[in-house]
Amino acid sequence: MSKRPHETPLLDQLEDGPWPSFVSGLKQLASDNDKPYANMMKDLLGQLEHSYETRMGYWKGGTVSVFGYGGGVIPRFSEVAEDYPESSEFHTLRVQPPAGLHYSTELLRNMCDVWEKHGSGLIALHGQSGDIMFQGCSTDNVQKAFDDLNKMGMDMGGAGPALRTAMSCVGHARCEQSCYDEVRVHRKIINGLLDEMHRPALPYKFKFKFSGCPNDCVNSIHRADFAVIGIWRDNIQIDQKKVKEHVGRVGRKQMIDTVIAHCPTRALSLNDDDTLDIDNSSCVRCMHCINVMTKALSPGKERGATILIGGKRSLKIGDQMGTVIIPFMPLETDEDLDRLFELAETVIDFFAESALEHERIGETIDRIGLSNFLEGIGVDVDPNMVRHPRTSSYVRTDDWDEQAQKWFQRKDATVE
């Protein structure tokens, strides 16, 4: 039985203008009168218009899940259901996309078919954590929708105090700057820790993100509790012939203004013959020169990743960035990946045992200090972890010799 659509004069204004309109999409769904979701979308539009009129939100949470899982569904019950009964339940299923957000049209069409049958027909590609968000499902249909998606090879993502869905950049699939195989590492880490995603038992959320180089296209330093960022530790690869071609094409002034002068550590110098001199021991691998001169310069050959831990958004102690915990680890062999997985598992275990309720790992580090955190996860101190050494003299140093000895022993061990 099809309902009459609500009047939506405020939302209608969002149909003008050149950018694609989500309101037009919602209205199209509401007018699909032969589909099971049409009435739900009519009332959804009505409630959204009501929000625009009153400048208030009207959703509340609750508990909805699928069999065997404790997370992945974001329950939404309307607080104004008496006026908009058909969209009184409008839950979201967070589903993990293919790593790197690659789709065949077959997969996307199958997703649409499932969501047309069991859900609202509205899919967000993608949420801030990298989930496909199937938005708008009644409580009764959540299990059915998930079953069909799961049969297609898709698994639920994370929600609540749990391991969350991760994200990796396009990387190896289409980027010459990628320093490790993001798909392989992303799947290895997350799939090994799935229990923490599907059965939430952590103090709070825990997010991994995988960027192939320091350009950090998935914003992992800001957004991830555990950021894996590709890097190299030998010299930038340089093709001097192509450097000369670049200078020939853009001119010396532009070369100096846009490349040489932008090097944050003044590691670059343009030679008189238009070749480039790089002081690699001063280079901090910021990517700028490589970004500008994509043909002439590329990351070195000895590649791996830097691990930063503790990035998060505002709740509760303010926004924080990740801190370097491992300056470099190779990610080539199965053993390399096992080592990263062991570290991830150790950090998650430490988090589970040591964090306070609703505390992110960055807040734990803030509370207990980096040195104690490192001790807890069994990682040695390294100068790359700090912006600069301590400036406060209020520190007790009677075990100085013992601490120094550890450094020398590690130095000796790496020389061997």
């Binding site: 950018w19 694609p20 999409g25 400048r55 208030m56 790593a99 065949s104 801030q128 990628s178 505002s314």
Partner: protein, 316 residues
């Protein structure tokens, strides 16, 4: 007695393998790319060490997509891009082409279907945003509508590369800042302490958890009208809304107390300088008369003194 039918047990397959869905040329040259350039705004050109070339056409979407829009993108991908497409972290769609000749017709097709082509290089890319009134339980504003209105205005900047460098804008519907850090961030800033519905607090909220959630320890348990509830030290309260998710009767948002603030200077990449957080420019929007420097621009949160000028480096 016969058991009720057991629900299906999930196949815990985890992160989906992208290779069956990846464009064949990307799969073939996986990890073997050599260099790239940008022939025009909205188009990337990547060359592999094998000599293979791929042209990527990037277009903006509304992120919250109906199945018809997704199928329209699929039709376009089937027609031009061998049945494959991908999305960027900012909800742009990308079609990979095996020949440069197809870029022009594809751009025409996308523009005809209402998808602006751009978002590459020194453009203003799509705004990364949150859920807002459409789905969030604690929003101060809508997200999709705000972004639609902004991207309508920024259409030219999306489709052209006329900025000094990349511009990444974010929006957030409350101070938790799910939208993240941006070159420009347009975020809700609440201006009044929560209004507490004391009749329901005891039934709805786990009071010690709410007390613990407050960043400035302004909430304490109290008996109000003979009922166990919570009270707020309003002089301490920073109006952040952190208590609202665990305790919805502590209503933080309202038409009179939900304002917008604009922040600038956040940066994700490590290129040139280290990543940074965005900084406050102006709050109290709308009804703001212009750009003023106020006491609220001076940070007073932990570690704030490191943001103060301890030098004679002065701009006159």
């Amino acid at each position: 007695m016969k058991d009720a039918k057991q629900p299906r047990r999930a196949d815990e397959s985890g992160v989906m393998d992208p290779f069956p869905h990846m464009h064949p040329l990307l799969k073939k040259n996986y990890g073997q790319w050599d260099w790239h350039d940008r022939p025009r705004p909205g188009v990337l050109h990547h060359v592999a060490t094998s000599g293979d070339e791929v042209w990527t056409v990037r277009a903006g979407t509304q992120r919250q997509m109906d199945v018809h829009t997704i199928r329209k993108l699929c039709d376009i991908a089937d027609e031009f891009a061998d049945g494959h497409l991908r999305f960027t972290t900012r909800s742009n769609v990308e079609f990979m082409l095996t020949s440069q000749d197809k870029t022009g017709p594809l751009i025409e097709r996308l523009n005809g279907a209402g998808f602006p082509v751009g978002g590459t290089g020194n453009s203003v890319s799509m705004i990364s945003h949150t859920q807002g009134w459409l789905h969030c339980d604690i929003p101060g504003t809508d997200a999709s509508g705000v972004v639609k209105a902004l991207m309508d205005e920024l259409h030219h900047e999306f489709t052209h590369e006329e900025m000094p460098n990349r511009v990444r804008i974010t929006t957030s519907c409350c101070q938790i800042n799910c939208g993240g850090q941006g070159d420009i961030a347009i975020n809700v800033q609440y201006t009044k302490p929560p209004k507490i519905n004391h009749d329901v607090v005891a039934n709805v909220c786990e009071r010690p958890a709410v007390v613990a959630r407050c960043p400035v320890a302004a909430i304490r348990p109290a008996m109000v009208n003979g009922k166990p509830s919570l009270e707020i030290d309003e002089t301490k309260c920073i109006c952040c809304g952190a208590c609202y998710p665990p305790c919805p009767p502590m209503q933080i948002n309202g038409p009179d107390s939900t304002k917008l603030a604009v922040w600038v200077g956040g940066k994700h990449s490590n290129a040139r300088s280290k990543p940074t957080f965005h900084k406050l420019v102006v709050a109290g929007l709308p009804n703001n008369t212009g750009l003023a420097f106020t006491r609220h621009h001076i940070d007073d949160w932990r570690g704030a003194r490191s943001s103060l000028n301890a030098s004679t480096h002065i701009h006159f």
